[in-house]
Each structure stands twice: as structure tokens, then as C-alpha cells.
């Protein structure tokens, strides 16, 4: 069977276009050839899976800025790609790139994907970028994962808005910096915000009345 030269040429163009699409001019100028090729492959696979690729480019550029060796950059980009995949899986196919990225950072901080699913279920029409960022920040400052996740989930169910969540995170952070225990700081600052919010409006499955 003879293969048409036109088909071969088309296939070659498609391969070249795919490779070019995976490459980013910002990476071309800053990565060595081997690292650039490996990172481009990870980015291409991520794009094929519908993941946001900008965080991957940023991760590679962060490695350059921090003068990390090539293999370390490749590993960091690959791990982030896996976390982005897991975050998108937990947050749903309609999650925005900012949410997926924030979810990936939360996963990196030790937040379980089940917490991401609960947050999405609690606020399906609300951007979770800030809530996930605050959750990540609380965990990174020493608040237990379970406590931080339950707190952010409760606040979302009460309709807390991003500025309120950020104010809580900042206040807790300041208290911890002053020497307060993380759990105590969260308890104290939570009292300040709960008074301004209504009771949770969403019932859990177990609380739903029988049909």
C-alpha cells in the first residue's frame, strides 16, 4: 500500500505543530536543550488532558529563577502536572484554571482530594481559588489539615466571601507569628467572623428529610 506524500507531509506538519505548541518561548530562552525537551513533553501531555499549562511553565521558570538544576526542574514540573490532574479530577471538569492551580497547591500542602470535593459541593457556583489559597495558607502555618478544611468548608457554606476568608487567614497568621498556637489562633479569629455570617444553609445528605 502506497502512502500519499500529501498524507506524510500533513502528518509531519501536525507533529511539528504539536511540538511547537508545547514549547514556550519563555522556556526556550532559559532552559538547556535536554531540560527544555523533557519539560515540553510534560506540558504537551498536560495540554492533551485539558489541564492548564501555564502553572507548569511557571514552575519551570521558578526553577530557573531559583537556579535549580535541570533534572530537578523536570521532576518539579512532572509532579505539579500530576497534582493538577488530581485537583481537576476533584474539583470537576468545569473548574477554572485558577481553581485547578489552587487545588494543586492545596494538595501539595497535604490537603486530601476529598476536601476539595467537599468544597466544590458546598459552593458549586463560586470560585474556589481564594478559599483553597486560604486553606493552603492555614495548613502551611501549622493548623491541622482536618481543622483547616472543616473551617473553610463551614465558612463557605455560611456564604463567607473572599475578603472575609483572606482577613481570617491574615489574622490567624499574625497571631501565630506573635507566638499563639495555630489551633488557638484559628479558634479566636473564627469567633470574629462567625458573628457576621448566617448559619450554614446547605444540609448534608444525612440531614435531608425523607422524600
Amino acid at each position: 500500500m502506497k502512502t500519499s506524500p500529501i498524507i506524510l507531509a500533513g502528518a509531519a506538519v501536525a507533529v511539528l505543530a504539536s511540538t511547537a505548541a508545547a514549547q514556550d518561548p519563555r522556556l526556550d530562552a532559559k532552559l538547556d536543550p535536554v531540560t527544555r525537551r523533557e519539560v515540553a513533553a510534560v506540558i504537551e501531555q498536560a495540554r492533551d488532558r485539558g489541564l492548564p499549562v501555564e502553572p507548569l511553565v511557571d514552575k519551570a521558570l521558578e526553577g530557573v529563577a531559583k537556579r535549580a538544576p535541570g533534572p530537578r526542574i523536570i521532576g518539579a514540573v512532572a509532579r505539579l502536572s500530576e497534582r493538577l490532574d488530581a485537583a481537576r479530577e476533584a474539583l470537576g471538569p468545569n473548574a477554572t484554571p485558577a481553581e485547578v492551580q489552587a487545588g494543586a497547591e492545596a494538595l501539595a500542602a497535604g490537603v486530601p482530594d476529598s476536601a476539595l470535593r467537599e468544597l466544590r459541593a458546598a459552593a458549586p457556583g463560586v470560585s474556589l481559588a481564594v478559599p483553597l489559597g486560604v486553606l493552603t495558607q492555614l495548613v502551611s502555618r501549622g493548623v491541622s489539615v482536618d481543622r483547616a478544611a472543616a473551617t473553610v468548608l463551614d465558612l463557605l457554606r455560611r456564604g463567607a466571601r473572599p475578603p472575609q476568608l483572606i482577613a481570617l487567614g491574615e489574622a490567624v497568621q499574625e497571631d501565630i507569628a506573635q507566638g499563639m498556637a495555630p489551633a488557638t489562633a484559628l479558634d479566636v479569629r473564627l469567633r470574629g467572623i462567625l458573628g457576621a455570617l448566617p448559619q450554614p444553609a446547605i444540609t448534608t445528605t444525612a440531614e435531608k428529610p425523607p422524600l
Partner: protein, 211 residues
Amino acid sequence: MPESRDELMETVARELSALPPVREEAVQRILELAAQRRAAERGAQEPPAEPSRRARWRAGPRWWIGVGVAATFAALIWVGVGRGGRAPAVPVSTQLAAADAPAPRPEAVPLAVADRIIADDAPRAVQFVLDAPGARAVAVIGGFNGWDPAAAPLERVPGSTVWTTTVLLEPGRYTYAFIVDDSTWVLDPRAPRAEDPDYGVESSVLLVGRE
């Protein structure tokens, strides 16, 4: 009903005069955008072929539209500027109200500035500040600018050792650092730090989302 109209106008005038001071250029920008939007809406509306009840209604005195527009702008300005001005000091780099941000280019966001002032996902103007005695150049790098020192150079405040710049950021969590004299990695002394298991170099952390 000229008397009741005057009373209402006086009430609105009193409320407006009681508002906190605002930046004149921000108000001017909002009014210009509103004028553009109204002109576009007028252009899209076809006048009725013959005088109808609706046409007579539209041709009648519409003083209350002006009152409504003024009150809406006043509320937006109060939410976007007044509250931002009274917000407590942010421990990280200062986040400013969107109305204080550099005017967007017309082709970028022609009609949505008024909406963005109160939207939770609207970009916020974030001011970065570093006191760097003896520095010849300072830049801020992070996930928001591709870790590129050329993207956000700081300017030295005349007569001081303080350097600053303002960047528009969408709500979320960002890691960043300062680069002094093109070579030295400096963390923000007023911001919390984020561990970095990928590259082993700490960054500063910023949560964006305050109004």
C-alpha cells in the same frame, strides 16, 4: 411633582456629600465608561416607528435615571475606594482598590471596570514595598509574572531607600520574592514564607482578594 423631586435630589446630594473622598481620576474613568456604555446601548436601540406609550415614557422627564446612576456610582465608589481606604494595614504588600489601579487600555477591558470594582474575581492592585539600603536595582518576581525580573522592576522612592511597584493580580495565592541588584534573592520581611519542597528555596506568600 417638582417639590418631591427636589426633596429627593437634596437627599441624594446629602448622601453623596457624606461619602469619603475619592480619587478624581477614578471617578472620571467610571463616568467615561458609563457614557460609552450608554451611547452603545442607545445605538443598539431602534426608535419606534410611531409615538407609543413606551416612547412617551422614554421621552418624559428622566431625572430619576440620573439619580439612580449617581447613587450606583456612589455605592460603587464607596465599596471600591472608601472601604479599601479604611481597611486595616495588610501585613504583606499593600493591596489597593481596583479604582486606584492604572487605567486599563480601552481595547483590553472597555466596559467592565465598574463591574470589576465589586466583583470577587476582579484583579486587585497590589503594592510591593522593600526597604533596600544600598540597592542599585530591585525587582519582584513570582508566579504572577513568570519569575521574570524584567517584568516588574521597583522604583526607588526619591530621598529614601524604599523601593516600590504596584501590580494588578487576580484573587488567589501567590509565591514571590525580590531580586536585588539582579542577583540576590530577598524575601519580603513582612510576608509569611512558603516552604519549597521542589527547589528548596523559600518564597514569600501573598493572598490577594481584599476589597
